[in-house]
């Protein structure tokens, strides 16, 4: 390998370095120069967390071999504002509008916004949207970001006073007033360090060997060649776990690394900690694993059949959790109904796609405290589980929560922290693991897909007499949050409606698919999708307005839910009123087709198009024609 001799100006400073020939500009900035304001959300040009200026043009540094930057002028997020000086107008505007939730996309967004306004200081909102089109945000949402760019544009142009960047006056209450985020300056300036940005002296890099099979018995894992590779500090497998191996939110059915059996494609089988990522990758190729493939099951209904492959001995029916709820007498309720409507709903598996891929750093400190830094959404629970797994008293295990670059429930499970702890213990050195986007998608939990059969009995006036609701959910290979998700789905299954007779079953099932886990709404979304769709269908069959059918069934203050919870205040009525007004709803039953007049009105978004920056040219042609 012949190193490149590089010279460039980065944020106004001359830099002269040798670098490995394959590095991307992103790697050079982050790993060689420790400038971690520029992030890696995907490594494939899709997300924009890595945007930097090269000779004045914004590019994605994950798509630029570092050789291309030789001799260039580079400007990164760290260089936008003078050291120790004020933030730029763009950065301050992001602070002002609260455009920095998890913050992981924000350095890239600030760069794209800066570029948009440099390219066209008068860019209109459509052009701003287009110019920021290469940058994705998963949590702030785009509204505040676009609002910030417009404010910055107007302040820079002098159309708006700089006072617009100052905090709004605080009222007597935080409620109803814009409150500035304390952590925004660190995010808009790229100074905030996420786990993957952290380094420690003598740190090792981890790579993980994953199962290519959905279900297989591991006959042998031979790590000897990997272990012998120069630069490898340690190789770990399930055999290295000193304590009681098992984690999960409800049932501790998942080992730190596959123990004897792999149950899904992407499950960790072994991990290497080495001096650098390349050596660790090379070591993975030297690990020999012999598998005996086992029959696998991918459909939750098949998994419940007699004779289906069993994933976990403790659950011979493959049922992770069944939550049955009964209220009143559904048969009686259906008998009283004027109309019975049955239907079937399906929702799919969904990836969280937080912009920060999983990352963590572990070390054993001077007092033998095993310390794991990671964006864990549940450090206390993780700490307790890890103590058991590594057989240490709780005071010798410490979890530090690094800034979470988006979680949405997906970082509630302790999927890699155990491996980091083991490797730090075995090697005696700090160890860091940073997932690639692909690894994150392949191996981490997803939203539970659901299949829901719905049966509803109604009177002609729309009042619901009975509901039978059955949801079968693919929980994948391990329990994780499945039990909780099934509980929540059962609790919220019938929505905010007062229904006298209810029969609910939610069933989470083991399969050899990627595990399902916590994800925003925790089961409610799946149930609500079915309930609300079903109500619209019933409204159509009864010739009722969809708002009206809901009003006739909605709970009132003091209602008792089907799980016997008394609700003090119920706001569904207010919500329906607000939604009806905001949508300019024209009363009537669904299925009116073109005859209705509330379509395409105020607030309707025009179909997606591009080319806002051509608008002046097009307008010119039109004028010439006219």
């Amino acid at each position: 390998m012949s190193d490149l001799e590089l010279e460039m100006h980065i944020n106004g400073r001359a830099v002269k370095r040798r670098a490995a020939p394959h590095l991307r500009l992103l790697d050079f900035l982050r790993d060689d120069l420790n400038m971690t304001g520029t992030k890696e959300g995907c490594g494939a040009g899709e997300c924009g967390t890595c945007s930097v200026f090269v000779d004045g043009k914004l590019v994605k540094s994950c798509l630029m071999p570092v050789g291309k930057a030789n001799g260039a002028r580079i400007e990164t997020i760290e260089g936008l504002a003078p050291k120790g000086g004020d933030l730029t107008e763009v950065q301050r505007a992001f602070h002002k509008t609260g455009a920095s939730q998890c913050g992981y996309c924000i350095p890239g967004m600030v760069m794209a916004a800066t570029s948009a306004l440099r390219e066209n200081p008068d860019a209109g909102i459509e052009e701003i949207k287009e110019r920021l089109g290469g940058n994705i945000c998963r949590c702030t949402g785009y509204t505040k970001i676009f609002e910030a760019v417009e404010i910055a544009r107007d302040v820079i142009a002098g159309r708006l006073s700089a006072a617009a960047l100052e905090p709004d006056p605080a009222g007597n209450s935080f409620i109803g007033n814009n409150v500035r985020r304390l952590d925004a300056p660190s995010k808009v300036s790229g100074r905030l360090r996420y786990a993957g940005d952290m380094v420690m002296p003598d740190m090792l890099h981890m790579q993980v060997l994953r199962s290519p099979h959905p279900h297989a018995r591991i006959r042998v894992i031979d790590v000897s060649a990997a272990h012998a590779l120069p630069g490898v500090a340690c190789v770990i497998t399930a055999a290295d776990v000193p304590g009681e191996d098992g984690f999960g939110v409800f049932v501790h059915d998942q080992p730190i690394m596959a123990r004897g059996i792999v149950r899904y494609v992407g499950e960790a089988v072994a991990a290497v900690a080495a001096e650098d990522v390349l050596t660790a990758k090379e070591a993975l190729r030297l690990i020999k694993v012999e598998y005996d493939e086992l029959p696998a099951v991918f459909d939750p209904e098949d998994a419940m059949k007699i004779g289906a492959p069993v994933l976990h001995d403790y659950a011979p029916t493959n049922i992770t959790k069944h939550i049955p709820i009964r209220k009143g007498d559904v048969e009686q309720g259906f008998a009283e109904a004027d109309l019975i409507v049955e239907d079937y709903y399906e929702t799919q598996q969904v990836e969280h796609a937080y912009l920060e891929p999983e990352a963590g750093l572990a070390y054993v400190d001077h007092d033998d405290v095993v310390t794991v830094i990671s964006p864990s959404q549940n450090i206390t629970h993780h700490r307790h589980m890890l103590a058991k797994i590594i057989d240490k008293p709780i005071n010798k295990v410490r979890f530090i929560m690094s800034p979470v670059g988006g979680g949405f429930g997906g970082k509630e499970d302790m999927i890699y922290q155990g491996m980091l702890a083991l490797a730090a213990m075995k090697s005696g050195r700090p160890v860091r693991l940073v997932y690639t986007r692909e690894e994150s998608i392949i191996s981490t939990a997803k939203r539970h897909p659901a299949r829901i059969t719905y049966k509803m009995g109604l009177k002609n006036d729309g009042r619901i007499t009975a509901v039978e609701f059955k949801m079968i959910s693919d929980g994948g290979a391990y329990g994780m949050s499945t039990e909780g998700v099934m509980r929540k789905a059962a609790i919220l299954a019938c929505g905010p409606y007062d229904i006298p007779n209810v029969k609910i079953d939610t069933i989470g099932v083991y399969t050899n698919n990627t595990p399902s886990g916590a994800f925003r709404t925790f089961g409610a979304m799946q149930a609500q999708f079915a309930t609300e769709s079903h109500l619209d269908i019933c409204a159509e069959k009864l010739g009722l307005d969809p708002f009206e059918i809901r009003r006739r069934n909605m709970m009132q203050d003091g209602a008792i839910t089907h799980t016997q919870q008394t609700l003090g205040k119920v706001s569904i009525g207010t919500v329906l009123d607000a939604a009806e007004t905001a949508s300019h709803w024209e009363a009537g039953a669904p299925g009116r087709g073109e005859s209705r007049s509330d379509l395409g009105g105020e607030g309707t978004r025009a179909p997606c198009t591009l080319g806002a920056r051509f608008a002046p040219a097009v307008a010119k042609v039109k004028k010439e024609v006219a």
Partner: protein, 305 residues
Amino acid sequence: MLTCDHYLMPTSLEEALMLWRGAPSGSRLVAGATDILPWAREGRAGDVHLPSLIDLSRVKELCGYTVEAGKVRLGANVVYQQFLEDETLRRHLPAMPFCAIWFADDQIRQQATLAGNIVNASPAGDGIPPVIAMNGEIEMARLDGDRIVRRTMRVAEFLRGPGKTALGPDEIVTAIICESMEGYGGSFQKVGQRRSLVISSVCAAAFVKTDPSGEIFEDVRLALGGVGPVPLRLTDIEDMLRGQRITRQLVADAAGLPADRVASRTRRDYRRAVVRGFIEAAIEDALVACGAPQPGPAQREAAHV
């Protein structure tokens, strides 16, 4: 992850050709790297180690463009953002700004070359339909002893199927040569799952020239992408329209023709449904670019019932 023993940055064509000829087998040429880097990732080629990567972006002969004798010669290093921002290119290649605006995003367009797009030979490559509609040719160079020899062929013939081209093992693409379409109106239609960073499910390019009265199709060029192994030039529709009086009915009839030529293996019905509207919209937008009045949404809908 892509690793290599050497990352080389020649500055002249001769140097590049020498390096390329001498490169150990498995070495690759690099232009913008926007196809090559994502290719070497998990789920595609995975981790790849190559002996040499020869980066062409500093080869001076491949930079810039010239317009001469009714032809535009685009050096292989011309990137997509130039089609959007360069006044001269916009005038001579009037569908390219619209193609460029739908291509990836502003950042990737600073790096991605048209030549790389063509050599990559993806059935969904956005730059290919407009180029074949402009009777585009591709120029390649190689060393014969120490003499540089060049050959040129139609891009439509250069493309042999998904990922397959007529490029020889020791050749480097030096230019893409298109007819100047000055005086034509150009347009580009694309449908994908979002508006930035999206690979085309279907795309269409059109160039239209009207007579001075604006009432007769003097010339029409049409091509479709994403509908089969290689993009499709629609010469029969071009012939059907050329010389005819422009009417909505004629455009609608023409647009109905190509659906059965959609040969993609996936989502075929969807693509067929899209193509009809696309041809119509492509012609209409190109007409508007020539100065015709913009049809309102109602007029557009009317033609589809």
